[in-house]
Amino acid sequence: MEQETIRRTWYSLYVLDRLLALQLGRPIAIHEDEYYVNLPSELEGNSGLFNGEPNQLSSIDYFISVINFSKILGQVISGLYRPSQVAIEPEKMLLSTTTLDEKLMNWKLSLPRHLRFDLGHTFEKSTIFKRQVRLSVQPLKILAKHI
């Protein structure tokens, strides 16, 4: 349990680092090659956030999706938004954009079905939206409970 708490703390900071870098236009502080931490996993006895519902939606699915998204986000900031003094070759920039876009599209396609926002179940859409907002704070809530 303690290790899991530490993992979640680490990845919460990781996600925030990427988010703040994007929102404030600052460089990222946590570099991929400077840490090795396993991804968070479902806590025992907390297997489903929406226990009793048919799909047993899990908060950890959302958290892991956001972590994977943040990895691509970090690559976009480092690869395409370097300081202006460091010139990027136009050809390289074109290639980087294409490569990063492929990664982002693959991220979307690999989302668990209940998090896929592009599927045509319009009736569910707003519900999914609301759940995702709640899920976005869930890892930290779980974390706070155990600190």
Partner: protein, 157 residues
């Protein structure tokens, strides 16, 4: 929220190609690239604009300020919407006003930017950041770039 994050990141990823011919005229290497790979650059620019529109469309059905604040993390929304609205308005500003064939496109961009503006308005009651975003967007809305055929440099009115 994943949808907003996705469309926002995809907009940002393709933003360097937005109105490249206008904003990067002094940058020779980029202009050379533009000449060599014009179709590719045009398609990346279209993706940028499309994703900004998708961000705005997600907010079409938000009923009021209460549901906006309750259902979305507003502190993330403001920067996402500011990015989307600025992309939409810059794209619109680069459309030559006398091009009748692009009139519908120009109006669509305007309407989508207006959606973002409404959200800023709704949030500005309790948020200084939203108020500033609204004022910046309104300022950008008044910006027009004269047709390239008349002057070869962009400027604002």
């Amino acid at each position: 929220m994943l949808a907003i994050k996705f469309h926002h990141l995809r907009t940002i990823m393709h933003r360097p190609y937005l109105c490249l011919a206008w904003v990067q005229q002094p940058n020779r290497p980029l202009m050379t690239l533009l000449e060599r790979a014009q179709h590719r650059v045009d398609s990346l620019e279209r993706i940028c604009i499309h994703e900004a529109q998708q961000t705005a469309h997600l907010l079409h059905n938000v009923a009021d300020e209460k549901s906006l604040v309750h259902d979305f993390p507003w502190w993330q929304m403001i920067s996402c919407l500011l990015c989307a609205s600025s992309v939409l308005l810059v794209a619109r500003a680069c459309i030559e006003p006398n091009r009748a064939d692009l009139l519908v496109q120009s109006q669509t961009l305007d309407e989508d930017a207006e959606t973002c503006l409404k959200v800023f308005d709704a949030l500005s009651v309790n948020s200084d950041a939203a108020r500033r975003a609204r004022d910046m967007t309104k300022g950008l809305k008044r910006t027009r770039i004269l047709p390239r055929s008349i002057f070869n440099i962009p400027f604002t009115l």
